[in-house]
């Protein structure tokens, strides 16, 4: 872990422990609580800066961050293209794997929050819409409603492509 973020986490934890102890007394030690909050504040500033720098470094080196997100999305889109006209049984099995891959995307997208909640929210909003469409496609295929399944497979595909465009447009 990057040093700034690590120091930030340590300060945050120390501030929390001290704050909780001073606040637990009856009545609370307000002076002690104020000092603890100052320590926590310093920790918060450092960890936020550290997290942002970490995200930018990962993006520049191409080892993670946005590049990794692009790769996962591109792969999922490619796999959907291959099953657009495949038999129903094959689609259900492949969709299970694609949905697992999308879960990984969602987890790895979390650090994007540091770039701004609006940016993160916009990307995740359209991504989640696509994910839900693919979940519906899975259910419809499993239930034997192929027409509904293919319609939502297409919806999910379109939404993921939109997500990919949004991720590519990120200036990290």
């Amino acid at each position: 872990m990057e040093m700034k973020k690590l120091v930030g986490n340590v300060l945050l934890t120390v501030g929390l422990v001290a704050g909780a102890i001073t606040a637990a007394r009856m009545p609370p030690m307000w002076g002690g609580l104020a000092v603890s909050l100052a320590v926590m504040g310093a920790g918060i500033v450092l960890r936020r800066q550290g997290a942002k720098e970490e995200l930018h470094r990962a993006a520049q080196s191409g080892t993670g961050g946005v590049r990794e997100l692009e790769r996962l999305l591109t792969d999922a889109i490619g796999r959907i293209e291959k099953i657009m006209d495949a038999p129903a049984e094959k689609v259900t099995a492949e969709l299970t794997k694609i949905l697992e891959e999308l879960d990984e995307f969602a987890e790895k997208a979390q650090p994007l929050r540091i770039e701004g909640l609006m940016t993160y929210g916009t990307i995740m909003s359209v991504f989640s819409k696509g994910e839900r469409a693919l979940n519906r496609a899975w259910s419809a295929f499993a239930d034997g409603y192929e027409e509904e399944g293919r319609r939502y497979l297409r919806y999910g595909y379109d939404d993921l492509k939109e997500t990919l465009s949004a991720v590519k447009a990120l200036k990290v």
């Binding site: 945050l12 501030g15 929390l16 422990v17 704050g19 909780a20 102890i21 606040a23 637990a24 007394r25 009856m26 009545p27 609370p28 307000w30 609580l33 909050l37 926590m40 504040g41 920790g43 918060i44 960890r47 936020r48 997290a51 049984e89 259900t92 299970t96 697992e100 879960d103 990984e104 969602a106 929050r113 540091i114 909640l117 609006m118 929210g121 916009t122 995740m124 909003s125 989640s128 819409k129 994910e131 839900r132 469409a133 693919l134 979940n135 519906r136 496609a137 899975w138 259910s139 419809a140 295929f141 499993a142 239930d143 034997g144 409603y145 192929e146 027409e147 509904e148 939502y152 919806y155």
Partner: protein, 583 residues
């Protein structure tokens, strides 16, 4: 119609008419959901007043749904069964909001001061508010924050089991069987069975630790299963529990901050009741308010996108139109205003203020309970009730009957909000259309309070309430809260100190940190330990075997562990109603 050749664990549901509209909201789903929900509501109301527990019942409804839709009616789909469980849990869930509050009026002999109509108005207002407030929060918590909602995830696993393959089905049923068997052995009072597997094990005593070290662990596979599904977020709860019980408690003891008559085994309980728990309640509130402020831009974007989609009226709009949110809030506000004005004799100005603050508080409480259940599955209802009663007593000029009635509104709203969010998470995972789920819930949620209020009234006439036959433990707890607040015995300073800490934590950039740490101080270690153990197992399995292993193996087992114990709680409720069990 369809060929009925579907088998558990095989995606071999063949249809002749594949172009038929995908079954989702159907008369069969609505009728089954209402009937099963009403059955659970009546059973849990009765059992809750005697034994002090209730349960959501979503997973059981999903299993019953499969049994009826495919077993008897020979049709049914994943999303149709999702509607069954959504309605059944909506009808059932308001039970806890009613039995926690209304019986207290009977115990205090104040129920005759309120016309029965107002009981229905106040609880119906709660049911409507709880659901409508969730409309903008769904996008934020499920789609953007992607909270785990362990129960919702478990129910989705049950719904998807028929098409998921035989291996997943086996794991689910294995988990269910083990969990149900263990719970039965622990609870059933015959042949000395509870002695074989106790309800908890005192590790502190086994390790010869001092009496004041609280190291007892509940042997609950349901709680362990919740941890298994939650994963990383739960580790923060575990860390907070360690801070609370194994750092703060010894330091408080060492520094001599305890009254001299609190010694030995009583120390841990005293610190929890008077220091860490009220701090935890404050942290929950501060953390959720900070979360609300931080998420406000996203909530506004969500509201705008819902409003714009409603205006366009074309394309793939699957969100409930924004007018439902406005209409729901207006209706619930008017119901609260009429109730307060008619019953409280407060004048129009103060009645307006009470209704306004009541609606705003329900929004904050609904947000908090949805965040807590989303991140961990725990719902801090009793802590929120304490704060609700405190606020309402102040607003109503210490009018106890009106306070408890409005407390019922809040209780029904927050339990409904948490349940709706769990259902919407399930819906997301199976591809249900959110607007359809929300509409059926709005149409049916008011049924629950009517059932619960009717059962409470019948019990009062038959046995009385607050006696040996019907102890109503939760209502007695509320009565104690009211007495404590009226006696000025509320740790407001702890709430404020905790609120400041929780607020600061949630500003850290780690989503929901204030709420998670607050929960860990609020919950007893008895349950944090098995829950934390489940979280640790999840993380180890994920690191060693990867995400796929979690989805394919861990999730179905965890869902089974949760469902098995939940099914047994319903069985116990039914046996109690039938008079077979006499706790």
């Amino acid at each position: 119609m369809a060929d009925a050749n579907w088998k558990v664990g095989e995606a071999s549901w063949k249809r002749k008419d594949s172009d038929e509209t995908y079954r989702e909201v159907t008369p069969a789903a609505i009728i089954l959901g209402v009937i099963w929900g009403a059955f659970m509501a009546a059973s849990f109301t009765y059992a809750g007043m005697i034994m002090g527990f209730t349960s959501g019942g979503s997973a059981i409804a999903a299993i019953v749904g499969w049994g009826v839709l495919r077993g008897i009616l020979k049709k049914g789909t994943v999303v149709e069964n999702n509607i069954v469980q959504t309605i059944a849990s909506a009808v059932n869930i308001s039970v806890s909001g009613v039995i926690f509050t209304i019986p207290a009026l009977y115990i205090m002999g104040l129920h005759q001061e309120i016309n029965t109509t107002y009981f229905f108005l106040a609880t119906a207002a709660g049911a409507i508010l709880g659901i409508t407030f969730i409309i903008p929060l769904r996008k934020q918590m499920i789609e953007i924050d992607r909270l785990r909602f362990p129960t919702g995830t478990a129910v989705a696993t049950v719904l998807k089991t028929p098409g998921s393959g035989i291996e997943k089905a086996r794991l689910l049923f294995l988990g269910m069987a083990v969990s149900a068997a263990v719970y039965l052995v622990q609870q059933f009072p015959v042949l000395g069975l509870p002695e074989i597997i106790p309800e908890y094990v005192d590790l502190g005593a086994i390790l010869h630790l001092p009496e004041w070290v609280s190291l007892a662990m509940a042997l609950s596979l349901m709680v362990f299963g919740m941890g298994l599904i939650t994963g990383r977020n739960g580790l923060i709860v575990l860390a907070g529990g360690i801070l609370s019980y194994y750092i703060i408690t010894p330091i408080v003891k060492t520094l001599g901050w305890l009254p001299s008559d609190v010694t030995g085994g009583a120390i841990s309980g005293f610190v929890y009741a008077n220091m860490t728990r009220p701090l935890g309640i404050g942290m929950l509130l501060g953390g959720s308010i900070a979360g609300l402020i931080l998420s406000m831009p996203v909530i506004i974007v969500a509201l705008r996108s819902i409003a714009n989609a409603s205006k366009l009226g074309t394309g793939r709009n699957e969100e409930l139109p924004i007018k439902y949110l406005y209409a729901g809030i207006t209706l619930a506000f008017l119901l609260l205003l009429v109730t307060t004005y008619q019953l409280g004799n407060l004048g129009i100005g103060r009645s307006l203020l009470t209704a306004l603050v009541g609606v705003a508080w329900i929004f904050v409480a609904a947000l908090l309970v949805a965040m807590s259940t989303g991140m961990t599955d725990w719902s801090p209802v009793s802590g929120l009730s304490l704060v609700s009663v405190m606020i309402l007593l102040y607003l109503t000029g210490k009018q106890v009957p009106l306070t408890i009635l409005l407390g019922a509104t809040v209780g029904v709203a927050i339990s409904g909000a948490a349940d709706m969010m769990q259902d919407l998470k399930t819906g997301h995972l199976v591809g249900g259309i959110p607007s359809r789920q929300q509409k059926v819930e709005l149409l049916t949620a008011w049924i629950g309070p009517i059932i619960a209020l009717t059962v409470v009234g019948l019990i009062w006439k038959a046995y009385g309430i607050g006696n040996e036959t019907v102890p109503a433990p939760q209502a007695m707890a509320l009565k104690s809260m009211v007495d404590a607040i009226l006696g000025g015995n509320v740790p407001v300073d702890k709430f404020i100190a905790g609120g400041i800490l929780g607020f600061a934590l949630s500003m850290s950039g780690i989503p929901g940190l204030g709420v998670l740490v607050g929960l860990s101080m609020y919950l007893p270690m008895l349950y944090i330990l098995p829950y934390g153990l489940g979280c640790i197992v999840h993380e180890i399995a994920k690191r060693k075997k990867g995400n796929e292993f979690i989805t394919e193996k861990v999730l179905p087992i965890a869902a089974g562990l949760m469902v098995g114990e939940a099914a047994m709680t319903l069985l116990f409720a039914v046996l109690t109603v039938m008079g077979v069990l006499h706790p």
